[in-house]
């Protein structure tokens, strides 16, 4: 269902809801995957992002998102100049991603401390985004909800354990999806929640033996 607030909004720095606001949100999700401003970021631009991204400020918007600026933050305009002071070394390249991707797509590889993540995200128009891949796993994240990203050993009962913790901590699940690259390897769990996961839930899920990675990312839209 379309909300009228999806139509009248977002409040954003111009010039393009898809090339600027959406790009910033993809940057915010990539930031969330390493828990803060990355020290290093490689941003690969695909399709229309590669062709007209510079004139639309797509590069500045993604850099701003990586630094935690929201789509309506006027600092987006100067984000590339501010990156140095924020400790972010960022490089851009044009690319042709393999497979079927929306014309406005970017692959962002970020490193913070010992943590690295690679995120592929598309900007669908009107500022809406869809993260389609994290570290090679197919995912679907809209950024409209707080999200819990978990990589865990693929074994029976793990979904019940995680959702059991969420239930006992009164974290309501809006949508969930589990996918894996191969049977018996690791699987990625995406839980979209009504509110950010509580500290207790984060701690208890992280403590589960099968869980290898946990990222709690707030909504970006």
């Amino acid at each position: 269902m379309v909300s009228l607030l999806d139509i009248i909004g977002p409040v954003m720095v111009g010039p393009s809801s898809s090339h600027t606001a959406g790009a910033c949100r993809i940057g915010l999700i990539a930031r969330g995957m390493v828990g803060g401003t990355p020290e290093k970021a490689k941003v690969e631009l695909h399709g229309s992002f590669a062709r007209t991204g510079v004139g639309h400020g797509t590069d500045r918007a993604i850099a701003g998102g990586l630094m935690g600026f929201a789509p309506d933050d006027e600092r987006l305009r100067e984000s590339l100049e501010l990156a140095g002071a924020a400790g972010l070394a960022i490089e851009f390249a044009n690319t042709k991603l393999r497979g079927d991707h929306h014309p406005n797509t970017t692959r962002i590889t970020v490193t913070r401390g010992t943590t690295t993540a690679t995120v592929i995200g598309s900007s669908l128009g009107a500022g809406r985004i869809l993260i389609t891949e994290i570290d090679g796993y197919p995912v679907e994240i809209t950024g409209s909800y707080p999200v819990l990203v978990i990589v865990a050993h693929d074994e029976p009962g793990i979904v019940a354990k995680v959702s059991g913790v969420l239930a006992s901590e009164e974290n309501n699940i809006s949508t969930m999806r589990v996918s894996r690259r191969q049977k018996g390897g690791d699987a990625i769990h995406i839980y979209e929640l009504d509110a950010p996961a509580s500290p207790g839930a984060v701690q208890r899920i992280t403590a589960l033996p099968a869980v290898k990675v946990l990222r709690s990312i707030d909504r970006v839209a």
Binding site: I7, I8, V11
Partner: protein, 293 residues
């Protein structure tokens, strides 16, 4: 929200409320936000629209490529036959917001950034001329959102999918609806205003120079505002468009789906592909790439 404007009109009439009030009630009933939160969000949108117009009116902005800027201010001291009327207020407001947008300033996407000038141009132009209060203007924004939501479901709000008829065309339809609402028109008059406006933007292509939201986007927001004024004027005079509004919206969607890809934001056709369009885009983009390094 509704997926047919006719259903919304019927419901508003049955409940004896305006279409803007229906939009606010329907949004609150969806349960994502309370009525107070919805109104606060729309108030902020209104405030940002006002600031954007004030910023653009100063006339000192240049776009990222340098191709546009400074034209809104010219319309504040107009020399033409309609100078100093609501008409030039609407043109100036639409240009101002789009100039701010092109300069990476803060605007409200309504429905998109590329079409963001039309609604504030029309709504705030009417608001200033008629001394309308903010709660009234917020009902205008709500009804514009309702119309946009119907267009999103039945057709498209993306230039890459449906051409400019889906961006400034949809924005003009939304602005016409808002205008009739705040001037006290009936739900049925709103439906006719949207139909009369959007029939005038059917087939409009998206052909921006270099793919940038600058030329002709900035100017097309102003002409979109002019078409919305025509729709408002006709609808309030009692003109009825013979094709129902939902079918006009469907037609926009159908034209968009069959529109050649050159005319859908790719800069492959239209004004973007003219000799001057290509030359300007090439010069400006080369310059921009140089600046990033």
């Amino acid at each position: 929200m509704y997926d047919a404007l006719a259903d919304a009109v019927e419901r508003a009439d049955a409940d004896g409320i305006s279409l803007g009030e229906l939009a606010l009630r329907t949004e609150a009933e969806a349960g994502l936000k309370t009525r107070a939160e919805i109104e606060a969000t729309l108030q902020r949108a209104l405030d940002v629209m006002r600031s954007a117009i004030q910023r653009g009116d100063r006339g000192d902005l240049r776009s990222v490529s340098g191709l546009v800027g400074g034209d809104a201010a010219k319309l504040r001291a107009p020399k033409g036959p309609l100078g100093g009327t609501l008409f030039t207020d609407v043109l100036a407001g639409a240009l101002a917001v789009q100039e701010v947008n092109a300069a990476m300033g803060v605007i409200v996407a309504a429905p998109t950034a590329g079409g963001a000038g039309v609604l504030p141009g029309v709504l705030l132009g009417l608001g200033a001329r008629n001394q309308l209060d903010d709660p009234t203007l917020i009902r205008g924004l709500a009804v514009a959102g309702l119309v946009g939501a119907v267009v999103a479901v039945r057709a498209s709000l993306s230039g890459a999918e449906g051409g400019c008829q889906a961006e400034t065309g949809a924005a003009a339809g939304m602005a016409a609806a808002a205008g009739v609402e705040v001037l006290g028109g009936t739900p049925e008059q709103i439906a006719h205003a949207v139909a009369l406006t959007m029939q005038g933007t059917l087939g409009l292509v998206c052909d921006p120079l270099g793919g940038l939201v600058e030329v002709p986007c900035v100017y097309r927001n102003a002409t979109g505002g002019a078409i919305a004024l025509a729709g408002i004027e006709m609808a309030l005079a009692g003109v009825r468009f013979p094709i129902p509004v939902d079918e006009v919206i469907d037609t926009m969607g159908e034209i968009g789906r069959t529109m050649d890809v050159r005319y859908r934001e790719t800069a492959g056709g239209g004004l973007a592909a003219t000799p001057t369009g290509r030359k300007l885009a090439k010069e400006r983009l080369v310059e921009l790439k140089g600046r990033r390094k």
